[in-house]
């Protein structure tokens, strides 16, 4: 897959297969295209896919609108969760949850029924009940915003969850809670893609596969040990190797 934003090519040939039950980590230095990949999967309008396709359960995801993708089971945990003034967190999540139920031909939950469900799911990320009646993400701390993303994941139960730098800006305690939540939500039926800059997160959420993204391409794939090697040697190691290759090709 190739993709551009504002005419600039960011992804230059991504090939990736994620099976259900798997956790993949996508790592890479800043500007390598990690977040672009995450946003493309969710259908952000600013990104244009110029080549390739994204098959999700046999369908080309790129032909679906962002809301359709979500109802089909794709979820993006935002790197910078958006504040929505005037709309309560509980109200927002109930609407999203009911959209999904309707899509599946199920009965909608009324506010009271949903309140019980929300309280149950909130335990996954130890979320304070007080945050449910507040406006979505408004005045939330960085950690609360990230926990709120994972709470939405817990409510919507996606088949494919893409977590875009969910670890950034978290202190150790918040990181433990957030990653504990993700681990609880892992099932043999869903798949999780972790987009991260640091290996730190992978101590808590252990990936089956690790991919290194650099200049819009996956330049290295391996098991969890690849992340440890990266941590040890730094991204310069990859940059050096890939840079060398490119020079060689160019010559």
């Amino acid at each position: 897959m190739h993709a551009t934003v504002e005419g600039k090519e960011i992804l230059r040939g991504i090939d990736l297969t994620v099976n259900k039950g798997e956790i993949h980590a996508i790592m890479g230095p800043n500007g390598s295209g990690k977040s672009t990949l995450a946003k493309i999967l969710a259908g952000h309008p600013a990104y244009v896919v110029t080549k390739g396709e994204v098959l999700f359960e046999g369908r080309n995801l790129l032909e679906l609108a962002p809301d359709e993708r979500a109802r089909e089971g794709v979820f993006l945990a935002f790197q910078y969760p958006v504040e929505v003034p005037g709309v309560s967190n509980a109200q927002f999540m109930r609407l999203a949850y009911n959209e999904k139920r309707k899509h599946r031909g199920e009965e909608e939950l009324d506010p009271l029924e949903f309140k019980d469900l929300l309280a149950e799911r909130a335990k996954v990320v130890e979320m304070d009940a007080g945050l449910m009646s507040r406006s979505v993400n408004e005045g939330f701390s960085g950690g609360e915003k990230k926990r709120n993303e994972i709470l939405q994941m817990a409510v919507l139960e996606p088949k494919l969850a893409v977590l875009d730098e969910t670890d950034s800006g978290l202190d150790i305690d918040a990181l433990r809670i957030v990653s504990g939540g993700v681990n609880k939500l892992r099932t043999p039926e869903n798949a999780i893609v972790l987009v991260t800059h640091y290996q730190r997160l992978l101590n808590y959420i252990v990936p089956d596969h690790v991919h290194v993204l650099y200049k819009g391409r996956i330049v290295r794939s391996g098991g969890k040990e690849l992340a440890l090697a990266l941590e040890e040697k730094g991204y310069d190691w990859i940059k050096g190797e890939v840079g060398g290759q490119q020079t060689a090709i160019g010559a």
């Binding site: 309008p45 962002p66 809301d67 979500a70 935002f78 003034p85 709309v87 899509h103």
Partner: protein
């Protein structure tokens, strides 16, 4: 020129006839009416050459001779009325149909003894005649304001609310001005006088609505004068939901005494053309006011708010927050003046006007104005005009909300800041459903 003359005399016969019917009124009232009609005739309806009316063209209503409502108003079934009554004010309401007081539809059971809530005509003939005489027309400024002058000339259905000192009225008083189906071409001139004596408390709900027959063209020309006594607090809601084809012109003027507080929230939903003039005088130290509002207009609607908050003396506080939601081919005007006079030291004033345009055909002209004539003040003001935030929209879409629902939810969120400040559940609910219905949402909250 001949056009102007014709416009001015359009109500002359009606006024002669009206005066004849009102022959029994006290002389001072007849004189007030006569003077007002004269100043109306002298001024004529404003035109867009007038700076204050630059963006609001009243020519369509000025051309038309609306017929002032008389006693022979249409009847309304009480069931048709109940839907417009605020639940909190079931037993504390005055109902007017086509500008005429309707005793059967009104209820004053919850009004405590000593508090006067009565039809203005009755008040003139009763024990509160002196209160009316002392206050009526003292704020309305007929001179130079054709609509206020016309109101004073024809004031018919209206109310006096008098709260004696240190009395708190627990139930909100609702004044419900309804237009019955088939009243096309009629004009009503509601006139309200509120006098809250020192350390009293009053909640007032002023409602305008069309009871069926939404397409009728009629004119509502209202004037409300509010006197907030020393240390008193008046919380006032105005809900304007006149019919789609109606013209609504109103003036709300308040005078706040020392340490008194006036809190006005206006909700503008109806009428093809509406204009609301607001004037609050902070003329004694420690007086404060809050003037909030929400206008929600769609295709074919024009809503204009002109406000003036006049800080005349030191240490007064004012807060103003107006929000607008414009859909389709609609237009809104917000002109908010905050005037801080030379001696008004330590004035604390904030003003904000934010607008959300949901359609490329919607247009708003906003002009917040701070005029400050001393430098020992804390004042801020600002205005914005924008559309729904793309990132917010994408966030909601990414959670599976259909695009319509996502837009509605964001619009609802925009209005919420005003809605949540409303004390009465019935008004909040009405507003929620107006916002959501307007946007054809299936969003229940």
């Amino acid at each position: 020129m001949s056009q102007a003359v014709k416009e001015k005399s359009i109500y002359a016969d009606a006024f002669r006839e009206f005066s004849g019917r009102r022959a029994g009124e006290p002389v001072w009232v007849s004189r007030l009416r006569g003077d007002a009609f004269e100043s109306f005739e002298a001024a004529g309806f404003p035109t867009t050459d007038d700076e204050d009316w630059k963006y609001t063209n009243v020519a369509p209503l000025a051309r038309r001779a609306f017929v002032p409502a008389s006693a022979a108003a249409e009847k309304l079934e009480s069931a048709a009325v109940e839907t417009f009554v605020s639940a909190e004010a079931r037993r504390s309401r005055l109902v007017f149909v086509g500008g005429v007081y309707n005793h059967e539809l009104s209820s004053l059971e919850a009004i405590p003894g000593g508090v006067a809530v009565e039809e203005l005509g009755a008040a003139l003939a009763g024990e509160h005649a002196e209160v009316v005489r002392e206050h009526l027309g003292k704020l309305s400024g007929e001179r130079g304001d054709a609509f206020s002058a016309l109101n004073t000339a024809f004031a018919g259905g209206g109310a006096l609310i008098h709260v004696p000192k240190e009395v708190e009225v627990a139930a909100p008083v609702q004044l419900l001005f309804l237009t019955a189906p088939g009243e096309g071409g009629s004009a009503s001139f509601p006139r309200v006088l509120v006098v809250a004596e020192r350390h009293s408390r009053l909640d007032l709900i002023e409602t305008y609505a069309a009871a069926g027959g939404d397409g009728a063209e009629y004119l509502t020309d209202a004037v409300v004068e509010v006197f907030v006594g020393e240390g008193a607090r008046v919380t006032h809601y105005k809900v304007q939901d006149d019919g789609d084809a109606a013209y609504h012109v109103a003036s709300t003027r308040a005078d706040v005494a020392r340490d008194g507080a006036y809190e006005l929230t206006t909700v503008t939903l109806g009428a093809q053309l509406s204009r609301h003039g607001i004037e609050v005088l902070l003329g004694s130290e420690g007086a404060s006011c809050r003037v909030d509002g929400l206008y929600l207009v769609g295709t074919g609607q024009h809503a204009d708010t002109h406000s003036l908050i006049d800080h005349r003396v030191p240490r007064c506080t004012s807060r103003q927050n107006y929000k607008g939601i414009l859909d389709g081919r609609s237009r809104a005007v917000f002109n908010g003046r905050v005037f801080v006079r030379e001696g008004a030291h330590q004035t604390d004033a904030e003003q904000s006007n934010k607008n959300l345009l949901l359609s490329p055909e919607a247009r708003v002209d906003t002009k917040p104005q701070l005029e400050i004539f001393n430098d020992d003040v804390k004042c801020s003001h600002g205005a914005t005009v924008g559309q729904l935030e793309e990132e917010e929209l994408f966030y909601l879409l990414s959670r599976g909300l259909h695009p319509d629902l996502a837009r509605n939810l964001l619009t609802y969120g925009f209005a919420e800041e005003i809605v949540e400040g409303i004390k009465f559940e019935s008004i909040r609910a009405q507003l929620d459903s107006a916002i959501l219905n307007r946007l054809r949402a299936r969003l229940e909250v």
